[in-house]
Subunit: 151 residues, 2 copies
DNA sequence: TAAAATTAAATTGTGTGCAACTTAATTTCA
DNA sequence: TGAAATTAAGTTGCACACAATTTAATTTTA
């Protein structure tokens, strides 16, 4: 192996280190942030995935599963059982759309709407445990959105 | 409700929108990036979690489960079955440490070491599908590391 | 030094997350 | 128009991910 080839091999292996990855800190940070939500969500008897689902419903009141999946980057395999669970808690109703029976509409109930009150403080509380400046948070959010768009 | 209170309520609810969250783009981007790894990892018959585990082993050759969990932000509940699977594929050996029988040492095998060759191209291929500049990637990585440290 | 506390893995149970497939409804187009 | 293609949900199976608990080994300390 020539010196140049050896150099290349080292560089290649260097890239296989965890610390040089973009993906790994993304994966780890995502899990850690969700972990910080859990104690607050537990009080509402919601998981993180159930929480972001409710966030969409608080905003839109009504949405079909396909669109919901597009919002949340989740498929019906994940959403169907999750929505059944939220329905059993009384937070939403599921019903086939008469105009196109393939579609299932998910509609916020009064109970589900009321839950928003109890969730009000969560974003603020989370904000205080993230020790980044407002500028850094904005910058991070921008980069993540850019990354998401390109994928 | 006074105008001021109404204003505050609106602001509070504004923060409960998905687009104003930091956590959600983090969660979504993480999943999407992992999804892009999958076709490459499938050729090596590895899941993403198995891949990052192998990355640690390629770097350290030998590590106990506790430390591995600290590296990967994973606990024994996730790692024990995952390591058994990697052991059954012949990539590593697990053995109790004689000096302290509570510890299980995980050691890279020759087969596991050879796998590194086949994984060599993955970081480069992933790099090309992330449409961010080198500066942006570096900035994103820095912010994520900073976020991880503070949590 | 022996009981109490701590520690590391493993186990159990629940909830995603997703690929692959099935089912049923609707749309396309030959 | 009627068969083929497409679409939306649901189902199945596998692999995490983690809280909570258990087990076994080691360390602390009364």
């Amino acid at each position: 192996m020539t010196q140049h080839e050896e150099q290349q091999t080292l560089q290649t292996y260097e890239q296989l280190k965890l610390c040089n990855q973009l993906c790994f800190p993304l994966y780890a940070a995502s899990k850690e942030v969700v972990k910080h939500y859990r104690p607050y969500l537990k009080k509402l008897d919601l998981t993180y995935t159930q929480y972001i689902t409710m966030m969409v419903l608080w905003e839109k009141r009504e949405i079909n599963i396909k669109e919901l999946g597009d919002c949340l980057y989740l498929d019906s395999g994940t959403l169907t059982p999750l929505l059944k669970k939220l329905e059993s808690k009384g937070y939403l109703k599921r019903s086939r759309l008469p105009a196109d029976e393939r579609n299932v509409m998910v509609t916020l109930t009064q109970t589900g709407s009321d839950l928003r009150q109890e969730a009000r403080d969560i974003p603020g509380k989370m904000g205080t445990c993230v020790k980044l400046s407002q500028d850094e948070i904005q910058e991070l959010r921008n980069l993540l959105h850019k990354l998401l768009e390109t994928l």
